[in-house]
């Protein structure tokens, strides 16, 4: 099994004709994702080169295609509006790839999404993939393979790095989710851990955190109640306070958000925390009872 997305996920793309949107739509189709439509205001009634129907509004697209997920590639200026339109259009799952959305817009959008009961993944994230079934976002599909490991991460390329090493070690994945590098995101570690805990096929979860905020600490409290084992890694151990390390959310403010505090919280919850990414496959194997 897998969580959140699978072969029954029907996806529309908001911003399907933009440079990024068009390129990654092709990649998603090639991976096998059911892309059922696109939304570009003013281009409704036309089709993309690959024959995907385009609609003017999310509502029209959902009515015509039965889409239950939307992926957003629109520029930061228009991204919050796109999230709210998807939320209103009733797609249920919204994956926002866009980077650089103002914090005010995200606070309002996350609140609206929570009121509606939809799920938002991102923004500023690589997306979600259930290997062999469905990929939504910009993740490079060919490094993933089906298997028993669930993965949640605030980062993109570091996730690919770790997934690649898992796959090479013969450790496939149920679902991998990049939750995004922004301070205000729709789904946090704890939200995804709850899904993995109830997925019978996920035998171990890899949690990849980084400096900034306290989502890892909150997750650690929940992990204490979980049956599924969790392996952790925290990036930014050498980052100085007050400096934003690329991601808008990766900043140590005063004494809060340090890597040390996160590592400690996870270890107190019984989570083996890797010192470096290359230790992760061994730790996963050990938790699965395989010889390293």
């Amino acid at each position: 099994m897998s969580i959140i997305v699978d072969e029954n996920t029907r996806v529309i793309v908001q911003g399907i004709t933009g440079r990024e949107g068009a390129f990654h739509t092709d990649q998603m189709i090639d991976y096998g994702t059911k892309i059922v439509g696109g939304v570009v205001p003013g281009k409704g009634g036309t089709r993309t080169e690959r024959g995907i129907p385009i609609f003017n509004t999310v509502k029209e697209a959902v009515d015509a295609t039965g889409a239950n997920a939307s992926v957003i590639f629109v520029p930061a200026k228009f991204a919050a509006d796109a999230i709210l339109e998807a939320n209103d259009g009733g797609v249920g799952l919204i994956v926002a790839i866009t980077e650089g959305i103002p914090t005010r817009d995200m606070m309002e959008s996350v609140r609206a999404v929570n009121l509606e009961g939809s799920m938002l993944i991102g923004p500023n994230c690589p997306g979600i993939i259930s290997p062999g079934k469905c990929k939504i976002g910009i993740l490079p599909g060919d490094i993933f393979t089906p298997g028993p490991v669930g993965l949640i991460s605030r980062s993109g390329t570091l996730t690919y790095e770790i997934v690649d090493s898992l796959t090479r070690a013969g450790l496939g994945q149920t679902t991998c989710i990049g939750i995004g590098g922004d301070p205000i995101i729709g789904s946090r570690f704890i939200d995804m851990l709850k899904y993995f805990e109830y997925d019978p096929d996920t035998k171990v979860v890899v949690l990849i955190g980084e400096i900034g905020g306290n989502d890892e600490e909150t997750a650690a409290e929940f992990i204490k109640t979980m049956k599924t084992p969790v392996i952790g890694f925290i990036g930014g151990r050498t980052a100085p306070p007050g400096k934003r390390m690329g991601h808008a959310g990766a900043i140590i403010s005063g004494k809060s958000g340090t890597a040390q505090a996160k590592v400690e919280a996870l270890m107190n919850a019984g989570v083996p925390v890797a010192d470096t990414p290359h230790e992760i496959p061994q730790l996963v194997k050990a938790s699965l009872g395989m010889t390293a």
């Binding site: 005010r104 490079p140 980062s155 390329t157 690919y160």
Partner: protein
């Protein structure tokens, strides 16, 4: 983005919040003298720097006459203000000139985004005029918080309640609640990522006024506020970071001797940690994002090599949708024409990494297949070369 006190006060007064009468900023001692005359003879000179703790460091002086204002400005302009928050110091280029206040009471008002609550939160304390983080640590009970629903905004009852919680004197609460709403409106409409009035001063004549103010702006929202772009003062940032900013490169100067280039913030952070584990000191954080186009690589490498401390450079690239062989070509094209005198180590992984590595055989780039080997190699090469 950081802005100065005088700019923050200008914003607050636009939203109706009371700020001290001022005579603008002085860039020269003569202007300080003129300012003092405008203000009626005596004036407060406040160094406009981006760091806190400037009072103790000599960045705030009271002049009793225009002549004294001139003399004080002579000393203050050009001084390097060293504070606890900025041990390397910040040069004072301008002074805000304000009317002196007779302060009888000091409070704290602030708004920050609370990441855990995913809402903006008001922070109020009766212990104003000191570093609020120190208050939070030593007297947590003296701080009241009120999270604000982003869809409902700040309501009157909330502004009152947080003041009562903070045990502010009851007679001042109606007026302070109004100022809190003005502060919130300014915070929201200007897309701030922090706004504080510290202290909010009660004066001997019964006035309530924002004696000092600090505002940070959300960089992601600057496109909505072209009026703030002129407030960007790159000369006060780290010169390497300022240059990176001009080139549009995601760069943070860290001060060590191993230059680092990678793709993706998380991967670069992990690379810094790996270099530190190998006994090196990272010179910087630099994220070239997806792709690794030759021009961006060249630009990034030039920037890193302009840091005189750099004794070795580590590239750590994960080929995802951009294939490893294309990345290798980009790096080769960029480095081929450059005269690089420090050792360079490249680690390439992911899609078509082996093909990429094969392209780099026999070039001046040392290659490694794992992050930890690459970190160890660049540290060893840098230290043996120096």
């Amino acid at each position: 983005m950081k802005i100065h006190e005088h700019q923050a006060k200008e914003i607050l007064s636009r939203f109706g919040a009371p700020v001290p009468r001022n005579a603008g900023v002085a860039l020269t001692p003569a202007e300080a003298m003129e300012g003092a005359i405008k203000l009626g003879g005596s004036c407060v000179l406040k160094a406009q720097v981006h760091v806190g703790g400037r009072g103790k460091a000599g960045g705030i002086k009271v002049a009793k006459s225009p002549e004294e204002a001139e003399q004080l400005a002579e000393k203050m302009l050009g001084m390097r203000l060293i504070t606890r928050q900025a041990p390397q110091g910040e040069i004072v280029n301008k002074l805000l000139m304000e009317e002196p206040l007779q302060i009888t009471n000091e409070f704290y008002l602030g708004i920050v985004p609370d990441r855990a609550a995913q809402r903006n939160t008001l922070i109020v304390s009766a212990m104003g005029g000191v570093d609020i983080e120190a208050v939070a640590e030593e007297h947590p009970e003296a701080i009241a918080r009120m999270p604000i629903d982003p869809l409902l905004g700040l309501r009157d009852y909330q502004a009152r309640a947080v003041c009562f919680d903070a045990k502010l004197p009851v007679e001042f609460i109606p007026r302070i609640a109004v100022i809190l709403k003005q502060l919130y409106q300014a915070y929201l409409e200007c897309d701030c990522s922090m706004a504080e009035i510290n202290p909010l001063a009660v004066t001997s004549d019964g006035g309530i006024i924002a004696a000092d103010a600090k505002i940070l702006l959300d960089d992601n929202a600057l496109y909505r506020h072209p009026e703030f772009l002129s407030m960007q003062e790159e000369n006060e940032e780290d010169p390497l970071e300022a240059e990176a900013h001009r080139r549009g490169i995601q760069y943070v100067h860290l001060g060590g001797d191993i230059g680092i280039i990678g793709n993706g913030a998380g991967l670069v952070m992990a690379t810094l940690d790996e270099v530190a584990r190998a006994g090196g000191k990272p010179a910087n954080f630099l994220d070239i994002g997806g792709g690794a186009k030759a021009e961006l690589v060249r630009n990034s490498l030039e920037l890193i090599l302009s840091d005189p401390n750099v004794k070795g450079v580590l590239f750590n690239i994960f080929g995802g949708i951009t294939r490893g062989d294309e990345v290798a070509k980009g790096i080769l094209e960029a480095t081929d024409k450059m005269d690089v005198r420090v050792p360079m180590v490249l680690r390439l992984a992911g899609t078509r990494a082996e093909e990429g590595m094969a392209l780099l055989k026999g070039t001046k780039l040392n290659t490694c297949s794992t992050m930890q080997d690459a970190a160890a190699k660049v540290v060893a090469l840098a230290h043996s070369a120096s």
